[in-house]
């Protein structure tokens, strides 16, 4: 992967733009972060699905989450 860089020298104000290749360490970190993000997304989706399923079961019984709170659950 190419990485684009805008470099600014704070002493001179000179600004240059260039591209460079991603290093192996950067690639490993990028993939690690991506995998973690994907896992988090899957976990989030699973949690949402479970919540929706539970709410469906409650509705079938004629209950809402407010009813559960009223029961102290």
């Amino acid at each position: 992967m190419k990485i684009t860089v805008t470099e600014i020298n704070v002493q001179t104000g000179e600004e240059i733009f260039y591209e460079r290749d991603e290093t192996l360490e950067e690639k490993n970190l990028r993939l690690q972060l991506k995998a973690k993000a994907e896992l988090a997304q899957v976990a989030e989706a699973t949690k949402e699905q479970a919540k929706a399923a539970a709410e469906g079961k409650l509705a079938a019984l004629g209950l809402t989450t407010d009813d559960l709170r009223a029961l102290g659950l």
Binding site: M1, K2, I3, T4, V5, T6, E7, I8, N9, V10, Q11, T12, F17, E22, T23, E25, E26, N28, L29, R30, L33, K34, K36, A37, L39, A40, Q41, A43, E44
Partner: protein, 330 residues
């Protein structure tokens, strides 16, 4: 009156009592000598004055006085009168050489030793100060000298072995904005030419293109496994520890919304120069698909050289579409 030895039945005259009273009150009346003089036993308890234009001496010998006897010595003349140890010993904390109008008490601790208590009043130190805020210091031994008040903000220091006022250097930290602007349309912002000890990098309202990703930071374009950090978040999935990372992950480790306009960080960086142990602390607020979160982290960068550049980067290489940065340092 000289020291007396009273006898049983002796009757004192009024003149004798008056003289005795004078003696008790400070030596009694005297007639000043005009030439050098050798103390005699009858001088005990009396005032011996010298009044000569030239130098004179008053000599102290043994076996004339008893322990507890005193002789009050004065110099009225312009010539210096020196109390001189003849066969007796004479010690003093002050000076045995008496200038005009100087004097003291010669007190005998034995028949052969005396202490001269110099009670002369010297002229004292001449005050060298002239201006409000001046101070006095010793320029050479006991010679007083004036140190004029310095300018506002100056501190007292030492140069060439004497005190002086100088502009403060080190020990204080003056912060100023070093660089600021919009985040560029690239995936990395590299700020180079850094020489300071301390930096604070602010990034506000960051947005970027393509897909949600992460925000990382590096120093000196170093992408080696030299970064160790820990970050915590208000979302459990974001907790992370990197013992040998290739950068600091300063944003949410489970990705940041690329379109959220409330993504921002403050990163403090301590440049330890050649100690090889640089530290960074960051705080931020990130938006993500599942809500906002607060991020806080701390880490160290192991590198034997000083930090001369800082890189912030979208980890997946996407380009910024909005946001600002400001680097403050000192």
């Amino acid at each position: 009156m000289a020291k007396q030895t009273f006898t049983v039945g002796q009757v004192l005259t009024a003149a004798q009592l008056t003289s005795l009273q004078q003696t008790a009150m400070g030596g009694g009346s005297t007639t000043a000598k005009t030439t050098s003089y050798v103390l005699v036993a009858a001088d005990a308890g009396t005032t011996v004055a010298m009044n000569a234009a030239g130098s004179t001496t008053i000599t102290v010998n043994t076996s004339l006085f008893s322990a507890g006897d005193s002789v009050f010595i004065q110099n009225w003349g312009a010539g210096t009168c020196t109390v001189t140890a003849g066969t007796a010993t004479v010690t003093t904390h002050g000076s045995l050489a008496l200038g005009q109008w100087e004097g003291g008490t010669l007190y005998f601790t034995s028949s052969s030793a005396a202490i001269f208590f110099d009670i002369s009043q010297s002229a004292g130190m001449t005050n060298p100060m002239t201006t409000t805020g001046d101070t006095i210091y010793s320029s050479s031994g006991s010679t007083p000298a004036r140190l004029g008040i310095g300018s506002t903000g100056q501190v007292l220091t030492v140069a060439g072995g004497i005190p002086s006022w100088a502009t403060a250097s080190g020990g204080s930290l003056t912060l100023s904005t070093i660089a600021s602007g919009s985040l560029p349309a690239s995936s990395t912002l590299s700020l180079t030419g850094l020489t300071g000890d301390y930096y604070m990098l602010q990034i506000d309202q960051m947005t970027y293109a393509t897909a949600d990703s992460n925000m990382i930071m590096q120093f000196n374009t170093n992408t080696g496994s030299n970064y160790a950090s820990i970050s915590v978040s208000t979302t459990n999935a974001d907790q992370a520890i990197y013992t040998a990372g290739s950068s600091f992950v300063i944003g949410s480790t489970t990705s940041i919304s690329r379109t959220g306009t409330e993504n921002g960080w403050i990163v403090e960086i301590k440049n330890s120069k050649n100690n090889g142990f640089h530290t960074a602390t960051w705080m931020g607020r990130n938006q993500s698909a599942s809500g906002n979160r607060a991020i806080m982290g701390q880490g160290y960068f192991m590198n034997a050289t000083a930090i001369t550049s800082i890189q912030v980067k979208i980890s997946d290489g996407y380009s910024w579409t909005g946001g600002t940065y400001k680097l403050i340092g000192g």
